[in-house]
Symmetry: C2
Subunit: 414 residues, 2 copies
């Protein structure tokens, strides 16, 4: 895409009402625009990155047999009364129609998915089933000051699985846990799985996937030698204690972290609430065991920025960068030839063809954070050759090489 | 995909609470499931079709220079007070937070997009700009009994354009009108553009794109000889009149129709409401001229079913069918080889590998409405050959030919 055509523009100064690095950088670089606290528009660059995160999550959910569906965001009150959520969940937005009907805005979808899936499940032969959606959710947050890390409206992947037996559920639960680590790895993040209590409805142990970041809203304790990690709120241990999980090999450290996903053992709660059953091998009615698996897609975008930035701006991992190459044409140089070559090679390229100073172009490229930068200028091509300057956003050094070689270097890393 | 794994199942009987063909067939065939009046879940087959409609619309909006963004669904009251919509628009859903803050749920996005786009527009050099989103909208409908044709929650593409002059706007308006006809054509629909009044806020002439269908909620008058078409509600003419547009060559006919898109000349109303301006060539502040361009994506899915069905079920146009081929393995026959060949050839195939009677498989295939059907059976392969039965959903006759040739016939039509 030609940057002269791009809808957004860079803002020199950080917005005054944003306290976090992710919101400041994403707003300045034109990825998002704040409508109100916790509610953002995703602009062309931001939507491209959001879609890439979404597609990585989608691929891994498909790989564990999840089937994608799309459930409504506006729900009848009756479903939320059935589970007790209408009165218990304080972040549940409530809507009244002009004829005084009551609705809830989805903040999770057990209330919709449980009767929906069980409508199509008659016997044990129809199990297991796993369905997921990638859709916007709403939470009536009292304060929402962490940019994309705590949204009033936010994009989430939520999967729900239904099983005949506890054993079958646990097998699947472990499989999804593995898929989650794969997703965070593909996004360039290291997540730790904390054992946590399963939310408002269950005392069963579930997992929260936490990424260490100073912008995080949770405190975790983790072992510096083994995988042990626990939310500090519910921990019996304290900072500096020897880890009991690995027999004292490691010591517990405390850190701020952001929850980017969770997996919950829902047991039979929701199936019992809706009284939805399947016939087992003996023809006896049974309640299915359910699991719930969330990932915060828009929150991940914020967490990635919290981890990958420097004083100049964002450094996107290639897997989620809005473009792979940022092509800058300096002064009177024409970048069209390089632009076309890159496009022909199937490389996603943002071409800065604007009439602004080289300094502005360099600064804005650093802010936007596309992984590879290619510069064309009259000086580089003074010898009549085809030289360009190739530089990675994450490295200091640049190389001056012919366009062909630059292309090869980029393709080699894909 | 193997049908034995597909989350949904066919329902033999039409749901009792659905009055329209689109809702009955889509529910029976497992494309959608109703949560409440006007609110549906989109199941795996339904989501595939919805995504295909969405992508056709996206391609044509990109082709006219639209840039995709994603705007919030929950809006601050202040924006809707600024335009007068808070009190004037009766279908606007209103939400109160637990701290008594008022929000609206988006039913259109002029209130968000006007200040958003103009934040990035300083001078005439930044114009024109066109941005669009494909996102869910909410309308507080009093009654919603037309299946996907009138949703309380529905998927819509809404584009907004901003121009320096009326002339520039009109040029773009005509371009988008052309793109709309192209979209409906790709979806297998014939749309007529009626001249209509521009909604609550403007007296300017705008266009509504109507598809003739008995399930439609509007009455239109159209000329049987020329392109003249008008909403019967605002028409001065009546049925049987000679058409004045083409000098009496044609006669006006009346028909039920469903609105699938619209383009509005918004003038400067919203720019003036928000007092957002750009500097013209002389440096003088001016209000931009705005256009608004909607297409009902989920509604289109319903309209397509209203047009393309017979007594056996749906007949999807290939461009939006959830799969291209429905492969049925009868009795003890193994369809795996054909399944793999089709997949290898890049054909999207639903493979009915279930242990049910041939009669049930044929009836369900007709109901789901995938354009091509391939049958494998022991009888067809009794001579040791590789014969399959190939049939189009829209035709009565089937051919018995080798798998290779069936594949060629399908690929040739793509």
């Amino acid at each position: 895409m030609r940057q002269s055509q791009l809808f957004t523009k860079i803002e020199r100064n950080a917005p005054k009402d944003e306290a976090t690095v992710n919101a400041q950088l994403l707003a300045r670089a034109g990825f998002v625009s704040k409508l109100m606290s916790g509610v953002y528009s995703y602009l062309p660059l931001g939507l491209r990155t959001l879609n890439k995160i979404e597609n990585i999550v989608r691929e891994e959910m498909d790989a564990v047999g999840g089937q994608e569906i799309s459930m409504p965001m506006i729900h009848p009150k009756a479903n939320w009364m059935t589970t007790g959520g209408w009165d218990k969940i304080d972040v549940l937005f409530k809507v009244k129609s002009r004829t005084e009907k009551d609705y809830a805005l989805g903040q999770s979808e057990e209330e919709v998915v449980t009767p929906l899936v069980m409508k199509y499940v008659n016997t044990y032969k129809d199990l297991p089933k796993a369905v997921y959606q990638i859709n916007w959710k709403f939470r009536d947050e009292l304060r929402s000051k962490s940019g994309l890390l705590r949204g009033v409206e936010f994009l989430m992947k939520d999967m729900y699985s239904f099983h005949e037996t506890q054993e079958d559920f646990e097998k699947y639960f472990a499989e999804v846990k593995k898929a989650y680590f794969k997703i965070f790895d593909r996004l360039g993040l290291v997540a730790k799985a904390t054992e946590a209590s399963g939310g408002a409805f269950t005392q069963k142990i579930s997992y929260e996937f936490m990424v260490l970041t100073d912008a995080g809203e949770d405190d975790i304790l983790y072992c510096d030698a083994c995988e042990f990690c626990v939310n500090a709120e519910i921990a019996k241990e304290k900072e500096g204690d020897k880890c009991t999980r690995c027999g004292g090999k490691g010591t517990l450290a405390k850190a701020k972290a952001s929850e980017v996903g969770n997996v919950f053992d829902l047991g039979q709660k929701f199936a019992k609430d809706f009284d939805v059953t399947f016939a087992d091998k003996e023809g006896k009615k049974q309640y299915p065991i359910m699991g719930c698996y969330g990932i915060g897609i828009s929150r991940l975008m914020g967490v990635i920025v919290e981890k990958y930035h420097d004083e100049g701006g964002i450094l996107w991992p290639e897997s989620v960068a809005p473009f792979t190459v940022h092509l800058l044409a300096l002064g009177a140089a024409d970048g069209s030839k390089a632009y076309e070559s890159l496009q022909k090679a199937g490389v996603q390229v943002l071409y800065d063809d604007r009439d602004v100073t080289p300094g502005a172009k360099f600064a804005e490229a650093d802010l936007i954070g596309i992984p590879w930068r290619i510069v064309v200028s009259q000086k580089l091509q003074a010898d009549g050759g085809d030289n360009v300057e190739l530089k990675k956003r994450s490295e200091k050094e640049a190389k001056i090489i012919p366009l062909d070689e630059a292309l090869k270097a980029i393709k080699a890393r894909h």
